[in-house]
Amino acid sequence: MKKFVSLRIYAVLALPFLVASCNDAALDIVPKDQLTDATIWQSAENAGLFLNDIYYELNPGPVSSVWTALPSEISNDPLDNFSDNSVSGNLAGIPSYEAFTQGAYSPSIPIFNDHWSNMYANIRKCNILIEKVGSSDFADEAKESLIAQARFLRAYFYKWLIDLYGGVPIITKPLDRNVDGDGIFAARNTYEECVSFVQQECEEAAVDLPLTATGSNVGRATKGAAWALKSELELYAGKWEDAAATSLKIMESGAGYDLFPDYGTLFYEENENNEEVIFDVQYAAEVKGVITERYWNPTVVSDGGGWQAVNPTQDLVDDYEFLDGKTEAEGSTLFDPQNPYANRGKRFYASIIYDGSEWKDDIIYTRLGIPNNRNEFGGVGATRTGYYLRKKVNPAIVPGTSSGQNSIVWRYAEVLLNYAEAKNEVLSTPDQSVYAAINKIRKRAGLPDLPAGLTKEQMRERIRRERRVELAFEGKRLFDLWRWRIADQVFSESLTAMKITGTEGNLTYEKVAIDGGKVVFDPGKNYLMPIPEKVRARNDKIDQNPNY
């Protein structure tokens, strides 16, 4: 019986036990997965974790509202689809088709909806690091390195905003609504102010950045990265002298930059961080991989199939010179209407999958009439232009699997092109340095040197074509069309495709308008993106871009 008596006692005892533990402290739990402010800024190593996370936010291109919500350059709708270089293959829900081509983008339907807030979130991170590390007592070297990298990254984020929207509010300190009050609402700075700001940031950051990053630091910002950013910015802003000078600084930096011998494999994972790469966004298969092979491969390939998200246009193909250095339009003697893809420079074969070209273990046909051919031009879910993308697509990667291919932001060839273009604009007639820069690039492409004696205008046209071809599908063409103010003219006619009929040996090549290939472009407003409505809804000091 004692057993039951004691049971009763237990029941009674339970109460005081419960009551006694009633206080705030009894509910204390320290979250196991979080660090405190004090911990994170107590050492340069810990602060470095914070910097790592800013790098993690680096994107090779703006994030559009495409449903994969990926940065454009690793997405199923890269920035070149917003230019005359390519069109999207799939159409539904694809911003370049639905919003851009049809001219339907507006503050209510922005293409790059979240990009604004993403960039400012990143800018805040940089501001936090610069402020916290600035007031720390780390060793000077560590401190300078952290701050210089953060300033470079901040400049990178600002540049994306400037490129898309023009002037934006320059915020250099972490905002705190409890301290700043209404000061958190800032108006846009002018485009010029923004450019000057980024120029200065890059220049100052470069001082403390290393010339090269090696070993476990590969991927970190270098002097070259800061200057490449600055060079492109100055070029876009038409600050020719600055652009030429900055580009030259890279060329003369002694960092060992040079052209990688093979244009085609320069982008592949096995060659990543090669001598041509100045700055790239780092990926690694599985842990931080990309699946661009899924998006960019042709409809059917020997190891699966892709979404053929990038269909190069005939307009671009026409700009690939033949081995005599001329295009079809310029009357190249090597152009054979029965075999239009023969005798072109190396870059063509490294960039474009065309009818009859080998790809993976197969030959890809886009001509009409081959039985069971789902890659056929105009077929359901197949190319709209007669071409598929080869550049940056690694044939060794099975579509759908994770790849670690880095996305190059700036490479040495671009610096040469920047230099040539800026220098040509500065001079009244192009000098030898302009020729040298361009010819270096042409040489790798297997093309003859530019003819001597070009006028400034002729040289400008050659540089623009060189730039279009060399940098195709690297997200630069859209901004080139904008800054050269040629988009309205380029888009005045429908973009074109190649329709091939007949049988082997007796093929007919016909350039036709792409279905849905007429881009609606309003020069009164479309040279900048609309500022998304939600930005202005939250801050009425932000003015909209003209005519949106």
Binding site: M1, F4, Y10, A11, V12, A14, L15, L18, V19, S21, C22, D24, A25, L27, D28, I29, P31, D33, Q34, L35, T36, D37, L49, N52, D53, I54, L58, L91, A92, Q102, A104, P107, W116, Y120, A121, N122, I123, R124, L175, R177, I184, A186, G215, S216, G219, R220, A284, G305, I370, P371, N372, R374, G379, V380, G381, D515, G516, E533, A537, R538
Partner: protein
């Protein structure tokens, strides 16, 4: 009918021993109790009471005499008695009290023990052939306790169709087959009586008043109350109603059956098909609008419980009912009470069913020819050449070359339209006055859309109640279950539905070739891609000890310790697979799909929750004053550990973690853990005067770890009042009203807000960027903290009226309620610009109102021919309104767009005026989206600025979650047949169609027949805009064009059963057998006949790409051994 021949030996041996031990224990305890109670006892009693339960009378006697009493069984305790004693001797009082009742009493060790008069055990009736053929007649009289004859009592021979009713004097006469075993006497308001016939020809019966509805004891927060004295708003659902509809998830049995519950089932996927339940609608903008669910007093999930274990489900709705749950109660509380063993015979019963499932509704997709020719039409509208030539169209049409011009009905060819589902349950229960037990063993198997997808569940529950001493009750409950979900390695059910509703039936997406080879990755990804198995193991266990304090009658203490543990094991093994395509030479070429090399992922997730509760309860009656008091201290702690590991690039096809690639780059793992703590102090004090006027105070002082020190504890009180009008003298003469009660409540309750630690300024750590080819860690700033974050507070008012009329044939309950939720968590982000750059922790800044009513009606009717019909109706309506939220000026300043003042989830978009009928109309209209043509949707330019943009947005629809849910249940039984049905409907909701469900050819997807009603110059009044090969920006805007009425009515459940006559079942020594057929979702009426109306809340469903709801046909069997 219970029969325990097989078990008798076991029963005697085991239970008699146990009884002996228990008796000894009891005796010794009493001796010890009585030793400390050396008092002289008064010997006379004075009691005046009419129609009150026996236990109340005995309490009065106890208070006057000091004699302890002990009532054996609930039925005894609630037997209604009329007494009139003036200084009556205790013994004679007890004699008089029990004289007209089937009770006997005795004085045991100074305690008055009242128990049922033993009834003679029915002698086993040998069945012989002659007897079978003989007919005889039994006569008798049915009376009430006072000897008054009862009219219209149904007298039936059990298990047969033979029945009659009594006359005005209570006399009856019934022919009985000679082998008939039992007569059953049924009358409303009285307990059904059964009498073994034996060789008798005259059987007189005295019926006992049943526990009227008012004396029914219902489960409320942390205790029980008599229905008649409840002053809060509470609905109950009997467990039998749940077992009635054979569903896999009991969550889905509640909607329409319980007033005040709004529910919506968003998916038919096995294991993931629980309905979203909202009590009295949605009362908060916060992330947590779900009701708290309690199983046997402890917060737990109930949706996967075995329905056969459930005794009752109680829904607590108003402030008074939920106050004991403090911070967790504001969204309503669902209390599930599981079955326990009852004193008496041993019950063993089996319940099983087998069913087939198929999708309820899905769009009728066009065949290949129709699809291809419609695409040509669409391309012509876009100024494009036809995609298919006439010749190709012809081949799609005549199917002369199906390998090149296929026509697959993907839905029919992939989805199993006869997916089986089965359930088997065995329950075993019984007990004596000292020890009672209940156990249930359950098995459920449900196949998914294809046979390699399935969900199975094994459950075992056992509980034991032991009267360890006369005043000590010890209960031990253990419930364990195993849920196993199996899916293919590369796809799940929802994915399959996405695929089959996506691909057009054309060569470009050939499902399979005529030789059987798959032409698309779908079939191999289902059948050859490995597996994904999830196993959920759940244990609920609790021990409770309840101790009456003999020295203070009515006072008891209880301690409860509950330990719940669940762990989930996941194992996903993915393998490469192949499918085929035709090359240019018409040869089949292999295409590799899926992963490039096998990979394995294993995960382990363990959750442990412990709950400790201490109760003090006191029940006292002092003359006309009744007092109840409850105090509870509760402490809960939780721990969660997560672990997972992965290997890729397997060289060997062996699905063991150890056997994968040894390269470090091919290994991965992860893990995390978290804890939680909560404690609270609950009280409830109620008072009633003569059972007529009632008042109750309840509440909780509650603390939770989510918040900053100093913000952790808060007090939630409530008060309620009740008035039983029917007890008033002025109502005495209104015969048709049997009971009428008015009640009202007001109080405060809480809702736990957001996530934990929003008060802390801190940094998170995550795997991040790649440097030098190696991934490094990164640290990031979490949201800007809010030191002051705290609970949401709900203030609720409820006024209700309930009662029964017409001889208790019609019962009703009607409540109106109004709630104001304040301190609601809202994101303050609208207060900072997007340039601010950091997320803000939520603030307690929102206010929301929620109003509505609940109604329930039930009737019970019995007819002369033995037919019984009962019908129930429930209506639940709740409409909320955002009173204060943080809203940007862009919407707040525009009355059309303002969210404040409207129901949460109100749908906004452009107002479609119709379709443009001419180019001229387009030219003269505001600028819309992209290039337009006649047949495109025309939007209203609300601000007349000549262009359609966000500023032209208006309200286009109600919230997707229905604001009104109603249900009608009907049960009918007659001569062994029974029929039950549940109709359930919803109203005041809208759903928005998006993507494929709105625009044809979305991303090249299939189109369905309804989409053929597109605009053409000949079909100007079309449902769909001009058809285009790719949806245009103009027609993909969110607008009223794509809003559909969400109202529906569906026959959720229909069941027809037949009980085989006991005359037959007894031959095989079985007490009873009932066979039934049932169907679910058999009929549906809604605005769109091609879509299931319950789709509309979330992303995939709005595209009509979701796991379709299932229609189920079931056959089942119940056996009582």
């Amino acid at each position: 009918m219970n029969f325990h021949i097989h078990l008798k030996g076991l029963y005697v041996a085991f239970f008699d021993q146990l009884l002996l031990i228990m008796k000894l224990a009891l005796l010794l305890t009493f001796v010890s109790v009585m030793q400390v109670r050396a008092v002289s006892l008064a010997q006379t009693v004075t009691v005046n009471a009419r129609n009150v339960p026996l236990n109340e009378v005995m309490r009065t006697i106890q208070s006057q005499t000091g004699y302890l009493f002990f009532l054996k069984g609930k039925e005894v305790a609630y037997t209604k008695v009329n007494v009139h004693f003036e200084n009556e001797d205790v013994h004679s009082a007890m004699d008089k009290l029990t004289a007209n009742l089937p009770l006997t009493w005795e004085m045991e060790e100074g305690t008055i023990v009242i128990k049922p008069t033993p009834t003679p055990v029915r002698p086993a009736t040998p069945v012989t052939k002659e007897r079978l053929t003989q007919q005889r007649e039994v006569t008798g009289r049915v009376t009430d306790a006072s000897g008054q004859g009862l009219q219209d009592v149904t007298v039936a021979v059990q298990g047969t169709a033979v029945a009659t009713v009594t006359d005005a004097e209570g006399n009856y006469r019934i022919p009985v087959p000679d082998d008939a075993g039992t007569l059953v006497f049924r009358y409303i308001g009285f307990t059904t009586a059964e009498q073994a016939i034996g060789s008798r020809t005259r059987i007189d019966v005295q019926l006992q008043p049943s526990l009227s509805d008012l004396d029914e004891v219902i489960v409320v927060g942390y205790g029980t109350q008599k229905k008649g004295q409840v002053t809060a708003s509470v609905s109950t659902l009997d467990g039998d109603a749940i077992t009635e509809s054979p569903v896999a998830n009991i969550n889905n049995s509640i909607a329409g059956r319980v007033s005040g519950v709004l529910a919506f089932q968003g998916s038919g996927e096995p294991g993931a098909d629980a309905a979203n339940i909202r009590i009295r609608g949605i009362g908060t903008t916060g992330s947590n609008s779900e009701a708290l669910t309690i199983v046997d007093g402890v917060p737990r999930d109930f949706s996967q419980l075995n329905p056969n274990e459930i005794e009752t489900i109680t829904v607590l709705k108003d402030a008074a009912a939920i106050a004991p749950y403090g911070l967790a109660g504001a969204n309503g509380v669902v209390l599930v009470t599981t079955k326990r063993g009852k004193e008496g015979t041993i019950d063993l019963s089996y319940n099983g069913w087998y069913g087939l499932q198929r999708p309820t509704r899905y769009p009728d997709y066009l065949d290949a020819y129709e699809f291809a020719s419609t695409l040509n039409v669409a391309r012509a509208n876009a100024g494009l050449a036809p995609q298919y030539t006439q010749e190709e169209l012809q081949k799609y049409k005549d199917q002369s070359d199906p390998d090149h011009y296929p026509d697959h009905d993907w839905v029919k060819e992939v989805i199993d339209f006869r997916a089986p589902m089965t359930s088997h349950n065995l329950t075993f229960s019984g007990g004596t006055d000292k020890i009672r037990f209940f156990s249930a063993l359950g098995y459920l198997y449900q196949q998914g859309s294809v046979d390699v997808i399935n969900f199975s569940k094994y459950s075992l529950a056992t509980n034991v109640d032991v009267n360890a001493t006369k005043s000590t009750l010890v209960s031990l409950d253990v419930k364990a279950r195993l849920e196993a979900t199996k899916n293919p390695g590369a796809i799940d059910g929802t994915g399959i539905y996405t695929q089959v509703t996506k691909h057009p039936p054309l060569f470009s997406d050939q499902l399979s070739f005529t030789n059987g080879l798959p032409g698309h990755s779908l079939l191999p990804s289902i059948y050859n891609s490995g597996y994904d198995r999830q196993q959920e193991n759940v244990l609920y266990s609790q021990l409770s000890i309840e101790q009456q304090i003999p020295s203070i009658p009515g006072l008891s203490l209880k301690g409860v310790f509950a330990y719940d543990k669940s762990y989930q094991l996941g194992k996903q093994w993915q393998t490469p697979y192949v499918y085929y395509q035709l090359n240019a030479a018409d040869e089949f070429e292999e295409v590799r799909g899926g992963v490039t090399a096998p990979r394995l992922n294993q995960a382990f997730d363990q959750r442990v929750n412990t709950t400790l509760q201490g109760y003090i309860t006191y029940v006292g009656n002092f003359g006309n004053h009744g007092v109840n008091f409850l105090a509870v201290a509760e402490r809960r702690e939780g721990d969660n550990v997560l672990f997972d590991a992965e290997r890729i690039n397997y060289q060997v096809n062996l699905d063991e973690l150890d056997l994968g690639s040894a390269a470090k780059a091919d290994l991965d793992n992860g893990g995390s853990s978290s804890s939680s703590k909560q404690m609270g102090f609950v009280y409830r004090a109620s008072y009633n005067y003569s059972g007529k006027y009632m008042a109750e105070f309840s509440g909780r002082y509650d603390g939770h770890y989510y918040f900053a020190p100093g913000k952790r504890f808060v007090f939630f009180p409530a008060v309620s009042l009740g008035w039983r009008l029917s007890e008033e003298p002025f109502m005495e003469n209104i015969d048709w009203i049997n009971d009428l009660k008015l009640r009202g409540s007001y109080g405060k309750s809480g809702n736990l807000a957001g996530g934990p630690f929003q008060y802390l300024s801190s940094y998170g750590v995550r795997p991040g960027y790649i440097f030098g080819g190696t991934q490094v860690q990164g640290a990031f700033e979490r949201n800007e903290p809010n030191r002051n974050i705290t609970w949401e507070t709900a203030k609720k008012l409820d006024i209700g009226i309930e009662g029964s009329v017409l001889n208790n044939r019609l019962r009703f309950e009607f409540d109106v309620f109004s709630e104001r939720r304040s301190d609601m968590l809202v994101s303050p982000s609208a207060a900072v610009p997007l340039e601010y750059g950091i997320g803000l922790s939520q603030v307690n800044g929102g206010v929301m109102d929620n109003r509505g009513f609940d109604l329930s009606l039930s009737t019970f009717n019995q007819f002369e021919n033995g037919l019984t019909v009962d019908v129930g109706v429930t209506v639940s309506y709740a409409k909320n309104k955002l009173v204060q939220i943080i809203e940007g000026a862009d919407t707040y300043d525009n009355p059309e767009r303002r969210r404040t003042g409207r129901p949460l989830g109100t749908q906004f978009g452009y107002k479609a005026l119709g379709l443009f009928q001419s180019q001229e109309e387009i030219d003269n209209w505001a600028t819309q989206f992209g290039t337009l043509q006649p047949g495109d949707i025309k939007y209203a330019d609300m601000n007349n600025d000549g262009r359609i943009d966000a500023n032209d947005e208006v309200v286009i629809g109600d919230p997707a979650f229905p604001q009104l849910i109603y249900g009608v249940t009907g049960n009918l039984s007659w001569r062994g047949f029974d029929l039950s049905m549940l109709w359930q409907g919803a109203d005041e909701s809208s759903f928005l169609l998006t993507n494929e469900a709105s625009n044809p050819f979305f991303n090249g997807a299939k189109i369905f027949r309804e989409q053929l009603d597109y605009w053409t110059p000949e079909n100007r009044d079309a449902t769909y805009p001009v058809i285009m090969p790719t949806p245009t920006p103009n027609s993909t805007q969110t607008s009223s064009w794509w809003i559909r009425d969400g109202r529906y009515l569906r026959l959720k459940n229909l069941e027809v059963g037949y009980a085989i006559p006991s005359t037959l079942t007894q031959k095989i020594n079985v007490g009873g057998i009932r066979l039934f057929v049932a169907g679910q979702n058999l009929l549906t009426f809604s605005s769109e006949s091609y879509l299931d109306p319950e789709i509309g809340v979330g992303g995939g469903s709005r595209r009509a790409r979701y796991y379709f709801q299932q229609k189920v046909y079931t056959f089942g069997l119940n056996v009582n051994f």
